[in-house]
Symmetry: C2
Subunit: 204 residues, 2 copies
């Protein structure tokens, strides 16, 4: 199947959404946890978390325009400056997907979708107890992407909890061992099967 | 294992690099193809490709500072304004990883690492023939991320080629069928095993 820019434009809207959302390859499945000002918790699935740097340890994720529909996660991060990123376990993909439903602001997706709030070291955002990898971040920057009014929310890692069995002495995380899920498009979930690691690449 | 921001800072540099590069979960494995001004091809593996929007169809990826080491991919994109993103097949992860080696500017990673250049519709950047999914993009914006001098390179999709068997009538791509690989950290590769798709989530 070969599509030009015009043919992509002319696709049925839902087909284009499905296709372009899956075209980058596999995406990480993460749940982002926040509190609002009255400590009401919020939990939402995101597939756009990206590594930005290791020193300082910076991660980012993409949000859509906040004018069009309520964005509880973004609102909470702007107000509290803190959020958590938690790996979705393959055993809970259905519950994780359900956090994308539009619940009213006074209902927590933790409770509605079957996740347990965990507090680590008084960190000011809620972690997902069921996640094998939990990351607490402080907001550093919100970067506007002018061409389509999306935004990249950037945070610096403040705290990190990993299941000991999933991380090696050298700091490699085995995502198959961690049971972490991957996503394609908006609603397809994958299990990760470890193949191989290679040394730092040099010319032959 | 629980690490605070200070403990992350105090980690051995290599361990921190490995750990923070794997902490977001699985990343897509893509080869980015470019030409320089004299049509010398370049190919490099990236794990930071991210979906930014479907209409217009926009993808982005992160590059590190170009002052420190030569960045052939970024240099070529700035000069020619075009690039391709090609899914890495699980059968070629070793060759794909090898494109990260620092080859001299007059050597093409296509030839050095065992990939075949493909031209589609005279598109002004080289595709990877062995990839089941090939995307041609035109540069739209380079976004500086000030906090650590990285940049997000944003392109709009101009052309798209997908193996027919890997895409459904609704536009869903099956990444297991496509044989697309995933990456953890800097050097670990995964096969994707399809689990399940869920409908658009609504409150129960």
């Amino acid at each position: 199947m070969l599509l030009t820019a015009n043919q992509i434009l002319e696709l049925d809207q839902i087909k284009r959404l499905n296709l372009i959302n899956s075209i980058t390859g596999v995406k990480p499945a993460n749940l982002i946890g926040t509190y609002n000002k009255t400590k009401q918790s919020n939990l939402a699935i995101f597939s756009s978390v990206v590594h930005l740097g290791s020193n300082p340890a910076l991660l980012g994720f993409i949000t859509r325009p906040s004018e069009k529909v309520p964005r509880h996660t973004l609102d909470n991060i702007i107000k509290t400056e803190y959020f958590t990123i938690n790996h979705v376990p393959t055993s809970m993909i259905k519950q994780a997907h359900q956090t994308a439903a539009k619940y009213p602001k006074n209902e927590s997706e933790f409770k509605q979708c079957g996740f347990t709030e965990a507090v680590i070291n008084d960190f000011p955002a809620p972690f997902v107890k069921e996640a094998t990898i939990q990351i607490g971040l402080k907001l550093t920057e919100i970067l506007p992407i002018k061409i389509n009014q999306t935004q990249m929310v950037i945070g610096q890692i403040q705290i990190l909890q990993i299941d000991d069995q999933s991380v090696s002495e050298e700091g490699y995380i085995n995502l198959e061992q961690a049971g972490t899920a991957g996503i394609s498009g908006l609603n397809s979930y994958y299990k990760l099967q470890y193949l191989e690691s290679f040394p730092y690449a040099r010319p032959d």
